[in-house]
């Protein structure tokens, strides 16, 4: 998805008003109640279809999954398992046994770090991440390194917020066991060339994990084309409920991995003499899963399938350009990261006001943005700032959101001038 392509894409095909109307929280109900929500990179709002699916499930056919013989439980189980197939369609792959349900991206990465990492990483081995990773794609590897004596190596980025491919390649050595990369940076919007990077890894026999938390909400993802071994994302960022997400993993890898958490559902048979485990994905889903959450995620994916995602991405790309231009016109405003393929996120600073002050003032004007380290402190350090202000988009964002942002930033400048 390059900017050049975007120009040709039919952004006009995308009816943002119709999409927006499906999000009750964005409804304009009374004076002063309009919400300009520009924090979708933290979490996305939910369409009515998802809210209804949860309500309907709890109201009419709630039951536990996998172990009941009775009809209600059979139906729950079928709906629950069907979501694995929806996830496959989302990721352009086909084997539902490769889809493990987790609490979210963070748990998915921890699962790999503990289970795969515990088995495959030893003292002296190396794991490569980049300078722009989210804490959730740093700390699990630090914990693994602590446990095993492995070493974490950091691929540098340039001031533009892009990973330097040569420097990344130079880091890959005989002891490199895994590379863990964001697909899209939550703090900068940088879209990493994950297919190329994973290919560099694979050609050396190095396993790869892609943190897709910020990519899945903004366009089509094809894990086979990327050529990664693991891919993680969170339902709550892709219009689904909180509390659930996905680890996709290549079946041969999942099958060879030891269990993560122990408990009900992940076993084949338990005895005090010795316990055997179920196959993947069940092996990694101990305990009662978030049945309603997963079914809600299924509703979100169904809903997404109805959207012309190419048109939505094109629209969003134009909106991002509109927003960048509007913000750059504000005196004293600096935007971080200039990847031409940037998606969804605009992080910035103002010379006169700290990001935290900006966020407070914007909030009083009805504009919700995020200020802080965006769970990417090493990136803040790289740019030498304690925090950034971040406005982020989703497919319900429109120009009125950007206009409200710009006007509230003017207010900020007034107060601080």
């Amino acid at each position: 998805m390059s900017v050049a392509n975007h120009d040709a894409l039919p952004a006009d095909r995308f009816d943002v008003a119709a999409v927006r109307a499906q999000f009750p929280v964005l409804a304009d109900d009374g004076p002063g109640r309009t919400l300009t929500y520009l924090d979708s990179a933290a979490t996305a709002q939910k369409p009515q279809a998802v809210i209804d699916a949860l309500e309907d499930f709890y109201t009419r056919e709630y039951a536990s999954v996998h172990r009941g013989v009775y009809a209600l439980s059979v139906r729950s189980t079928q709906r629950f398992e069907a979501v694995r197939e929806k996830v496959c369609r989302l990721l352009h792959t086909s084997d539902p046994r490769e889809v493990v349900f987790t609490r979210g991206t963070t748990e998915a990465i921890n699962l790999v770090a503990t289970s795969w990492g515990g088995q495959n990483v030893s003292a002296g081995d190396e794991i490569v991440v980049t300078q722009l990773e989210h804490h959730s794609n740093i700390v699990p590897w630090q914990l693994l390194c602590e446990r095993t004596g492995a070493r974490l190596r950091v691929a540098p980025i340039g001031l533009d917020g892009c990973v330097e491919v040569d420097a990344f390649e130079a880091l890959l050595g005989p002891r490199t066991k895994l590379v863990a990369l964001a697909h899209v940076s939550n703090a900068l919007g940088t879209r990493l060339p994950v297919a190329a990077l994973c290919q560099l890894a694979r050609s050396r026999g190095i396993t790869s994990l892609v943190d897709g938390a910020q990519a899945v909400p903004h366009g089509s993802v094809d894990v086979l084309a990327i050529g990664c071994d693991f891919y993680a994302f969170s339902a709550h960022k892709v219009f689904g409920p909180t509390g659930t997400g996905v680890l996709w993993g290549r079946r041969d890898l999942l099958d060879a991995m030891p269990p993560y958490q122990g408990g009900g559902s992940m076993i084949r048979s338990v005895s005090f003499e010795g316990t055997t485990y179920a196959d993947a994905p069940q092996r990694f889903e101990a305990g009662t899963p978030d049945v309603a959450g997963v079914i809600g995620m299924g509703a979100a994916l169904d809903w997404l399938e109805e959207i012309d995602r190419e048109a939505a991405a094109a629209f969003e790309c134009e909106l991002l350009r509109y927003a960048s231009e509007a913000l750059e016109a504000i005196p004293g405003l600096h935007i971080f990261g200039s990847d031409p393929e940037k998606v969804g996120v605009l992080s910035f600073s103002l010379d006169c006001a700290h990001p935290h002050d900006i966020a407070t003032i914007l909030d009083r004007e009805g504009v919700a943005i995020r200020a802080g380290h965006h769970c990417a402190q090493p990136l803040m350090k790289f740019y030498g700032v304690p925090a950034m202000a971040r406005a982020s988009l989703a497919l319900y964002s429109d120009r009125s959101d950007i206009d409200a942002l710009v006007s509230a930033l003017e207010t900020t400048r007034e107060i601080f001038s």
Binding site: P355, H356, R364, A371, H373, P386, I415
Partner: protein, 151 residues
């Protein structure tokens, strides 16, 4: 915008722009670091405490939002020459000021210029910004090695 003007009073904006007692006082004999993980505010407070336990001189360094910077600056002015007991008293009064609605009829402890922070109470997420300097000051007086963290 009224409560914004209440929050960002001119005194606060002034101390944010030109903080007083910025830097390390000569012969400082106690210090502590403070950290607000939410917004990345980092503060270092330095003290020269005399034999009687009074704050003889005080300074601070660090980066942070307008509220935390101005709070640190105004605090350094306020506590100079105070004893530990006086600091504790004003800490409590200040904490009440930024968190609680003013009690009817009650005469609040006089906080002088610090009263400009009364607008913070309408902004619960900013309370920690306003109190970080004070937590750090207490840590410096206790001279614990721990970073003061507002969470």
């Amino acid at each position: 915008m009224d409560d914004l003007r209440d929050l960002y009073q001119s005194t606060i904006l002034d101390h944010n722009k030109s903080p007083r007692n910025f830097g390390v006082p000569a012969d400082s004999n106690r210090d502590a670091e403070g950290y607000n993980p939410l917004c990345g505010d980092e503060l270092h407070v330095y003290l020269r405490v005399d034999a009687a336990g009074r704050i003889d001189d005080i300074g601070f360094e660090g980066s942070g939002c307008a509220i935390s910077r101005a709070s640190a600056s105004l605090m350094t002015e306020y506590v100079k020459n105070q004893s530990r007991e006086e600091v504790d008293r004003v800490f409590d009064a200040f904490h009440d000021l930024v968190t609680k609605a003013p009690k009817e009829g009650a005469t609040p402890e006089s906080l002088g210029k610090l009263a400009v922070f009364s607008g913070v109470r309408e902004f619960p997420m900013r309370v920690k910004c306003a109190t970080l300097a004070w937590h750090t000051l207490r840590a410096a007086l206790d001279q614990t090695d721990q970073t003061a963290v507002t969470e």
